[in-house]
Every structure is written in C-alpha cells, then in structure tokens.
Symmetry: D2
Subunit: 226 residues, 4 copies
Amino acid sequence: MKHILAVNFKAYPTAFGAKALKIARNSDAVAKEFQGSVEVVLLPPATELREILSTVSYAKVYAQHADPVEVGAYTGFIPPEILKDVGVEGIMINHSEHRMKLDDIEFLISKSKFLGLKTLVCGATPASVAAIASMNPYMVAVEPPELIGTGIPVSKAKPEVISNTVDRVRKVNSDVIILTGAGITSGEDARKAIELGTQGVLVASAVMKSADPGKKMYELANALAI
Amino acid sequence: MKHILAVNFKAYPTAFGAKALKIARNSDAVAKEFQGSVEVVLLPPATELREILSTVSYAKVYAQHADPVEVGAYTGFIPPEILKDVGVEGIMINHSEHRMKLDDIEFLISKSKFLGLKTLVCGATPASVAAIASMNPYMVAVEPPELIGTGIPVSKAKPEVISNTVDRVRKVNSDVIILTGAGITSGEDARKAIELGTQGVLVASAVMKSADPGKKMYELANALAI
Amino acid sequence: MKHILAVNFKAYPTAFGAKALKIARNSDAVAKEFQGSVEVVLLPPATELREILSTVSYAKVYAQHADPVEVGAYTGFIPPEILKDVGVEGIMINHSEHRMKLDDIEFLISKSKFLGLKTLVCGATPASVAAIASMNPYMVAVEPPELIGTGIPVSKAKPEVISNTVDRVRKVNSDVIILTGAGITSGEDARKAIELGTQGVLVASAVMKSADPGKKMYELANALAI
Amino acid sequence: MKHILAVNFKAYPTAFGAKALKIARNSDAVAKEFQGSVEVVLLPPATELREILSTVSYAKVYAQHADPVEVGAYTGFIPPEILKDVGVEGIMINHSEHRMKLDDIEFLISKSKFLGLKTLVCGATPASVAAIASMNPYMVAVEPPELIGTGIPVSKAKPEVISNTVDRVRKVNSDVIILTGAGITSGEDARKAIELGTQGVLVASAVMKSADPGKKMYELANALAI
C-alpha cells in the first residue's frame, strides 16, 4: 500500500487564488515523481476545488469538510452530492477546528460510501479515534491534543499516544488507513509516523506556510517513500 | 441484573414544580415495590434535581444532560462536577433532542468515570450506538429513527433494528447496559424490548403525558420484573 | 434605484454543475435585458462561484453564506477574504436555513464593509430585521415565518407583516435595501412586494425548481421593472 | 433609579453547594443594607436556583441562561417557563461565554416579556449592543473585548468604548438599563462605570474568586450607592 501525504490548505493566505494553484501544481509534480509509493492528497477550500481539480493529474483532491445535509433546501451548506459532482475523490470531516456531532459523522460516512466518495475522519483521543474507526471510514487521522499546534514533533513528544491509538483502532477495524495528524513538520517526523504504525501524515502549516511548499512536499514525500 | 426503567421528564408541563414532585413520589413507590428486580431512573430538568433528590429514596436520579466543560468561567453551562455535588447518580447525554459532538461525548464519559458518575448515552443507528459503546459508557439507549415519536410500538415496528444494534454493540462491548429508547408506551412494549436483547427501556411521554403516571410506571415496571 | 431580483440556488439539484451554469446564463440574459431597472443577484453554492462568475456579465454574484472567521487556521470554513478573492459582489448571511449568532452577524457586516463586499442579511420578525438593519448591512431580507415554505403568496397572506417590518427598519435605518424574502412565486407576488415598500425580492424554489427557470426569471424581472 | 450590582456565579468552584449558599446569604445582607439605592442581582447555575431563592430576601435572582425552546419535548434544555415556575426575577442571555443566535435572543426577549420575566442581554461591541437594545430587553450589559478577562479596570482601559456604546444604545432605546459587564474588580471601577453613563455593573470573578465575597460585595455596593 502507498503511504499517504495529505495537505490541509485550511483558510491560510496561501489556500486560495494563484498561490493555491501554484502549491497544487508543485504538489502534483511531487505526486507524479512518487506515484509508485506515495499518494498525495490535497484539501483546498470549497471555492477552489474545481480549479484545482482541473490543474492536477496525479494528486488526489478531497474537500476539507462536507455538511451533513441532503441535496435540497439547505442554504450555505455543501452536501456530499455537490462535492461528488465537483469531482473530488473524498471528504475530510471532524477536523480539530471543525468538530462534528457523532450522528453527523455517521451520516456522512454512510452517505459518502453510497456516493463513492472516500472519507478521512479526524479524532483527538485513542477512544474517539477508535469510535470513529468502528464506523468504517476510509481513513482516520489521529490528532493528539499533546501535539496540535505546539510545533512539537511527534518524534520528540510522547510517541505512545500514536501507538496506543493504533492499537485501539486495530481492535475494531483492521483495514482503515491511519494518519498521524498533528506535529508533522519534517521528513523525520513523517518517517517517525510510519514507524509508529500509521500509514501516512496529515500536514498543514508545514507546507502552507513554507517559503518553498514544493520543496517541503518533496521532503515529506521522500520520507514516506519507504 | 435488574432491568432498567428510565423516565425522561424532558421539559414537559409535568416536568417541573409540584407535578414533577408528584410523579417522582409515585415513581419512588414503584421503585420500592420492584426494588429487587427493576431499577427506576428519573431524569428531571436541572432546576428540579435537588428537590427531587431529597424526595425519593428508592429511585435513582440522573441529569438529562451535562455540558462538556470544566468547573470555571462557563456561563449558563452545567459541568459534571456541579451535578456530582447535586447528588445525581449519573447523567444522560446525546439524546435525540440534544445531539452532541463525538469529542464532547468522549470527554463526558471519561470525566464522569473520574467523578464516579454513571453515563447513559443515546444513539440513533446501529453504527452510532456501537461507536458510543466502544467508548465504554455505563448504559446506551437505542433510539431508532423508525420509532421516535411515531407512537409505533417496537413490537410492531421492525424489531430487527433493535436486535441488530444489540449485535453490533456486543461486538465491541460485552458489559454495557442497553436500553430501548423509543416507541415504548406499554408494558407489552417493555417486555418486547427485553426479548430483543436489551436490558431496559427509556420512556418519556408514556409516563409524563399519562393521566395517571404512577399507574403507567407500575405497568412498565411490572412488565420489566422478569 | 433598481429593484433587486435575488435568486438563492440553495443546494437544490439544479444548484450545481451544468444545470446551475444554464440557469446562470439564462439569468444573465434577463439581467442584460432589464439592466436599466432590475439588478439580478445570483447566489450559488461556494463550489460553483468561480465558474458562474466567469459565465455571467450582467448578473451580480453573491455567496450564500460566509463563515465568521479570519484568514488562517480554519478548516472547512470560508472567510470573507476568500470570497473577495473569488470575486463575488457580496455575501448573504443569516438565511432562515442558516441562522447565525448576533456577534457573528456583526463581525461579518463590519469585515465585509472593510473588504468592499456587500451584505444581504436575512431575518424573521420585524424586531429581528430592525436589529439587523441597525448594524448597517447593505440589504436585509424579510422572511416572515408566516410565509416561508408555505407557498402562500405574500399578496394573499397578511401583507401587514411586510409593511410593519418596513416601518420598524426605517426607524433605525433610512438607506438599507429591503427585500421580501419568502412567499414569492410569481410576477404578481414580486409586484406586491414592491407595493408593500420593499425594494426587491429574494426567491429560491420559484426559479430553481421551475421547468423553465429563464422564463420565470423574465416574469419576475418584468414585474420588478417598474 | 437604583444602580444594579449583578453577580454572575458562572460555574466557578464557589458557584454551587454550600459555598454558593454562603455567598448568596452574604450578598443578601449587602442587598438589605443598600436596599434604598442598589439592586443586587445573583446569577447562580440552574441547579442552585431553587435553594438560593429560598435563602435570599432582598437580592434578586436571575438565571444565567435560558434555552430558546417552548415547554415540551426538549431534553436537557430549560425553557423560560420552567424558570418562571422556579421563581426567578429574570434571565441573562448571550453572555460572552454563551453567545446566541439573533433569532433566539429575539424569541427569548419576547417570551420573557410575555411571562413577566426580566431580561439581561450581553453584547460585545457598540453595534451589537445597540442591535440588542433595539429589541427592547430590560437590561443590556456591555462587555468590550478590550476588557473581558484581561483584569484591566475600565477606568484605565479606553473608557470611550463604554461611552460610545451608551451613545449608540440611547439612539434606539431611551429606557433600557445599561450595565458595564467586563473589567470591574473594585469599587473604583464600579463608580467609573456609573460615571461613563451606565446604570450598574455585571461582575463575576471579582466576587466569586474573592477571599471574602461578602466584603467585596459591600465594596462594590457602597461604590454604586450614589
């Protein structure tokens, strides 16, 4: 199986317009180079999805979020059906900056499966990530509060948080892809995430705030190409 | 193990003041009569907890909800610590009328365990109830959307919704008490809930809107005393 | 001043992809024909904004919603700055299907003004629309609960709900454009909205669910061209 | 008119149980002493309301929050009708720690008026407090973000934030009582709040975290007794 390198654009200044397209193109070049061993997943804001999808050929594109509604009279909400039409490969939900109700997570996992969309569901603690995994998403991302936004690399923070989560997830789900979703800023961190039993990483500022996002993507992909 | 008869007072006109105290007293008499075989759990609004606790001797009292906050600067929220001080036996969370974020459910289950409070966590679908059960609450209640508020007794609705949920829950948790949480209006329904593999019932309008709540409590307890 | 014909695409089956582009093109033709007297405003989902903006020349495009966040680490949220970059003329907020906190409404009105974006803010009652108007948005839309989704035309429902709202709004704000935002399905309704003292209409299903959306747009624009 | 000394108990460790009762008794003694010139308002958590109401004779008791629901099938929510039955004088809503939707604020102001409950509605900015005032609550509290939780006394922070808010409120509402709702920790601050054109103060930690809450209440009431 390929390792995953997922990049959350968030709403950073580089997440939209020309800067976002450039990061997408550079990431696509990295995706092409490592196509045999690493899957690059880009997560731009909803407004940028169609343009970025028409720009990349090797990288996959996921939405950063989907709303737990059906097609119909829902103003200012994006149901999975619209994202399917847009052409994304999948959706991310329940990011630490956008936590959702348990019911809505379950609805979106089921609905996405029905529509042929993949799901990447984030969670904070071993117990909550295992609960998510029991609902059979395509991927989960472990975001230990110990690591989020601290800049502490997972290799130096308590790594047992990650391995404990992997253990609990595997008790309820042997297939789900597990990403390390916080504290990854370097190739060394990415490699450590793999050693701890996860199958990839979910990064954001490391790439989006980098002086050279393409170079940072190369560093991370290269570390995951093992 | 005793079967559970849990009564959600909601914010019904009978849920507060003198009417609520009367229902509590009548329920306590039923709790006394069936103390060997049925555990009666009363769930009044937060404002009524202290008075009802000082009124009953045999029935257990749970809060209808707790907020996922710590003790501190949280205006208009009730953390579990306050409920512990009030003297409740436990808390209910994630009722279909008050769905919560997955993270908050996990926080409240952990925090309650730490404080010595029991948890009753509601859920809608087999997948979401199993996800909840994987986080080790004390009780779960299955509220199939097919049954909520329809007045259709579980014995006549598709009973496999309940038994499927029981099956999925037992795969991840062998101990959690499972309640049937929708569509129970009669002793016959309560008995059917037990036959389907659950250990009790969570009722609301059947008692709170009854012309004779004490009589309805007796009917339900009597059916569960098996 | 031109009258306003605003079309909320919501998340209807016609709100995205090829169907949405066709409605946008047809609406643009209507906008061209009535450019001296009617301003056509289109409100597509966030994912469709860039394509529709590059499709129309006469119609204005607003976002259906914006999130009350800054540019930065906000996953799955769209701050006004992104919408400014996308090129919309303005944003709608607080639609009856997407009610917001008072604070967030105030933040978005201020932020939009700073960015040079117009705001269309919806409200339900005379009191709440007047409260909104006191915060100086560009437009408000009156959505009386008596009219929403009932299919009852404003000309036959209690028209004093609209005129009372106009009176209360004008006491605190003499400039804001007022739209009638519910119960408009025909040219006759649109004309009635103008007679009641509002400066335009906000429609949704009348156009989006029409067998011939372009023809319906023409009918409404023609009625407003007075 | 009497000046107002309102004490938000929040969910502080002193906000419930014996400690809360003691603060209530001490505050009641202060309320008695200054009954000709200062109105003391206590805002305990929902669980403590009945006991505190039966403890005090001179102080008024408000709820810290009410939920925008009717009496009925609403689990874990407290409608104003329950609070009316409990016996409170009024409700506070939209505190900076519990912001609400504009619609819900409007609903609760109207409903409270209908039930004979007073309303104290908080707001952050001159524009949002004026919008609130336009909906005719009984009191508003100005909580400038510049002052909340900073410990900076209003007398030393930019006092024009308060006076600007008073100006804007008075343009839409000549009657509403205005409280200064952040940054008050001393009698000097309380007096400054009056000088700036407000009719009282809303405090929390100054009393609830005080080594001697009764003494702090006396200091504040004494400063307001002018």
